[in-house]
Amino acid sequence: MTPSSRLTPYLYVLPLAALLGFVFGYPLLKIFEFSFKMVRGIDGPWIGMRNYQLVLGQSLFWEAVLHNLQLLLAIPVMVAISLIVSVLLSERVVGWKLYRIIVFVPFVLAIPIVAVVMKRMFQFSGPVNELLRWMSLDFMALDWIGSSDVALWTVMILIIWRESALGIILFLARLLSLDESVIEAAKIDGAGWWHRLWHIILPEMRGVIEFYVVVSVITMLAAVFSYIYIMGGGRGGPGTSTEVVELYIFNALIRSSLPGIASAASVLLFLVTGLLIFLLFKVRQRAEAA
């Protein structure tokens, strides 16, 4: 091997390493440093754990954490919806290809667009409440957007509506790759629909369901900013009723210009999701092996 050919691989991966180093490496190191500093402008003095004490001592932060945790409640609903729809599609009922295109539409529309539309639909004087009143369900005609007791649940409806589309497609891909002869054999043996679903299909789908759950957990904890920001008219809310950790970081950085505080919150979020990433790859390995 000539020296130049030994260098060749490094020339190929150099731009990659530089880009990842800049966009991921530098920030991931810097948030730890900043989180122990009082940053004003571009840098500042070391202040030990003060940022963490401030963040962890603030009720707003814990409210945000609690809201992220509340969003996790959407996941079982998403899994159930995705399972029902994908299993039905996989049976190739009449028109299933058209249904497949349609049920995936929510995932193609951008979150900000859907959030603007949903917000108008759920306005107090909007079409959803009009429909409910028309059906004489007046007690259900809530102030979906404007009431701080309901606002986060309304965001959750939107999240379930959109993220279920991903579950359907993931599950359907797995279902269509199943060995049909096993299912056919069960049919011939006289196994009913529920029996086949419960004892033959579901066990085969464990891997993909676990994968979807972990991806969704990460979404709920660290990727709901667009939903919250738009539904809350550019700041979340009303008040702090839809505050989440991402919004907390955003406000600390942009509105209050406190990079140190924002970094401490980022570190906490990173460590929690880091734990989940570890879990994710464990699950993926198993899903791929299956």
Partner: protein, 276 residues
């Protein structure tokens, strides 16, 4: 008896799927129908079809709001970041998949695990750095961040794909005297077209739809992306619902048309991009 039960089962299945399809389409239907109504008509009738469809709202949106300008900005960012990221990822993934060198496996492992790091974690230091360098509200600055964020997925997908290319192909080309770069361009890339299409679809959708990076790193009115523009637009015309919906129809039109045209690539791409 059994035939009846079977039929009943089919009715139930069709009903469930029809309901799911209806729910999936409701916001789109509402958006389009409302955009065709006048303010007066919407005030009385929020559910029904428009009695006398008007196109005034679309006209007003295009005249009063810089939707086309925002779309142009988004297009610049999508094109810039996807081209940059794809080029860098192809080179890196090719070396990882076909060459032996120290640190190769570590690089792949690190790159792959970065896929699951939420973007919000990276914004604070980058924003502080960009402020110092005067790179806030520059296309280049935002393109660099977007390119970085989509690269781990690109590398993962390309390495997986390049590894499925039979080794004999490389070796044959090598014996013919072709250098690494020639092999990559003439042999590997043409074979990788399906993977590249998937990659471009997923990554374009990600950059086009992003809001977080857009509102933090492109604060200038002139640099605003479509998604950031939407958040301003919907706040400004809060009470004019039909006008707002006309804006949303215009904003969703490009991706919607692409989806109808390329639904196979979209579905395949998003299935593999599920990790984002």
């Amino acid at each position: 008896m059994r035939g009846n039960a079977l039929q009943l089962g089919n009715v139930v299945k069709q009903t469930v799927l029809l309901l799911a399809s209806f729910l999936a389409l409701v916001p789109t239907i509402y958006m389009v129908v409302t955009a065709l109504k006048s303010d007066e008509e919407y005030a009385i009738d929020k559910l029904g079809p428009p009695d006398a469809p008007v196109l005034d709202n679309f006209y007003a949106v295009l005249v009063e709001s810089p939707f086309l300008h925002w779309m142009l900005n988004s297009t610049i960012l999508v094109a810039g970041s996807v081209i940059l990221s794809t080029t860098i990822s192809v080179l890196g993934a090719y070396a990882i998949a076909t060459m032996r060198f120290r640190g190769r496996d570590t690089l792949l492992a690190v790159s792959t695990s970065l896929m699951a790091v939420p973007p919000v974690v990276m914004i604070v230091p980058l924003f502080v750095l960009y402020t110092r360098l005067g790179m806030v509200s520059t296309y280049f600055g935002a393109i660099l961040i977007y390119a970085g964020l989509i690269t781990p997925f690109s590398v993962y997908l390309l390495v997986t794909f390049f590894r499925t290319v039979p080794r004999e192909l490389y070796e044959a080309a090598h014996i013919d005297g072709a250098g690494q770069f020639t092999i990559l361009m003439k042999v590997v890339l043409p074979l990788s077209l399906p993977a590249l299409v998937t990659l471009v679809v997923v990554n374009s959708l990600y950059v086009w739809n992003d809001l977080l990076i857009a509102i933090i790193f492109l604060q200038d009115d002139a640099k605003r992306t479509l998604m950031a523009g939407i958040s301003v637009f919907s706040g400004r015309y809060n009470n004019q619902v039909p006008l707002t919906m006309a804006g949303m129809v215009i904003a969703s039109a490009p991706m919607f048309m692409l989806y109808v045209l390329f639904q196979k690539q979209f579905i395949r791409g998003l299935m593999s991009g599920a990790i984002k």
